[in-house]
Amino acid sequence: MSGRRIVITSGKGGVGKTTTTANLGAALAKRGKRVILIDADIGLRNLDLVLGLEKRIVFDLVEVAEGRCQLRQALIKDKRFDSLSILPAAQTREKDAITEEQFSAIVARAAEQSDYVLIDCPAGIEAGFRNAIAGAAEAIVVTTPEVSAIRDADRVVGKLNDRGKPIRLIVNRLRSEMVRSGDMLSVDDVCEILAIELVGVVPDDEEIIDTTNRGEPVVLDETSRLRAIYDKIARRLEGEIVPFTSFENQGFFGRLIDAMKAG
């Protein structure tokens, strides 16, 4: 049976798509799933950096599409997790170097050899975005609880709806103190606006910056609370009902919050 093909997208740049793809992939691999991560951001590739695998790149997505090498030759095994591999994007090319059909075909081939294919989508809603979602059967939209990010996410949800793919939501970089003081939207507010199934809430954590700079997914760090959170997201994706722990309890306008919606 073919693996699931999920695109991780957002519209707004810089909200944590790549970090989410890397960490969620690692969390799934840790649970024994065979995971292939595909970086669809041609020309601005970062997934390899975030996993510390940039030195191992010999072939890339575009070369696979052009038939200059096999998919398995381009796949790079992760250093730490046996069942995790990545297909890096090309850096010296542009997004028109590949068509939607070519990308879909590659994603399909990857799905044949894995349980999960996670596609790291570029920012925006242009050709790169369209290519990335073409290959996927499901989507995870990542947003931060800020007005501009939510607006962009909303636009993306609209486009995904047009294509009839199931969409789930991850709220990233939540800062509970700011939610409490009314300076940041609550998870509830975000869910209400976007109206899609919530699959994860990730708090803001300054450790992430250092770990992404060093190429070490945060799920490797036993002391990090983010590890448990990405693990929960992985479990929810697998179909488990995992309650959200509440660590915020005030909405933007001070309404009483349904305590289920955080964590």
Binding site: E54, R56, I57, F59, R68, Q91, T92
Partner: protein
Amino acid sequence: MNGASQSHPQRYSEKDVTLLRGRRKGLEVALAGRELGQAFDELEARLGERPGFYRGTSAVATFGTTHASVPDLSRLRGILASAGIELRAVSGSVEVGEAARACELAFETPAGPSDEHELERRRALRPRRGVKLSDAARSLVADFAGARADIADRRRRGEASVPRTDPSIEPAPPDAALAGEFAPALHLVEAPPSTLYHAGTLRGGQALHYDGNVVLVGDVNPGAELIATGDVLVFGRLAGVAHAGAQGDERARVYALDLDATQLRIATFIAADGENRPARTNAARPEAALVRDGAIVVVAFDQLGALERGASLS
């Protein structure tokens, strides 16, 4: 297939060769003629690169005519002890002997010139010891092995990563030089390959492909690609990917003032620096990368001459 692709370029410099040596029994820390403070820093750094590797061995420190005081010996002993190495004895001048006694260290009279000579001779005869690879390195080697085979295969099929100047010339199979029958590969053509001179930094995502040699005055930033059928010389910092001898010339070289490439490729060999490289010092030294004994090695530029004259690499 072993030795096909070396994953880590080995760095050799004069200081590396002489600071820490193997002897029949344990190690020798060669400090003769060195400035001790700097030598100790270097020793500490080198031992830090492979923690535990020397654990359980003993060492002798030779000072020659260099003066060493009690604090010096204490520091040295401490540095070695941190790496699990016991400082067994020291050798040097009479003052060094006194300092050694004050530290309760055994003192050996220095080896005479004939012993040095003998050591050198034996070293030259000794077979190269295998490099111990970490898990990360081993998986790197495995990754590259397949890639290398594929690049070689593509080359044989006639696909070049750099367009050829004369499409009617067939690429020669690897042993054409021996066979002597086929049309010569480009690097055997009479006219010497041309050299492109480029002044300016190559930014991430930019690619410079050239049929010939490339001299670049500037940096090659991470994410940039410099591919040449001949040699590559970067008068600046090389941080991206450089591929010399892209059509199969294993004699091609990569030179850089500051060699910090994400990946180095020469002909069908690929190498990337080990994951646990110590932090770079600010004073970068010019280095050259070349293929030697089936692997890419990186040599300090001022050592190149010695290497070419046949000095051993261990």
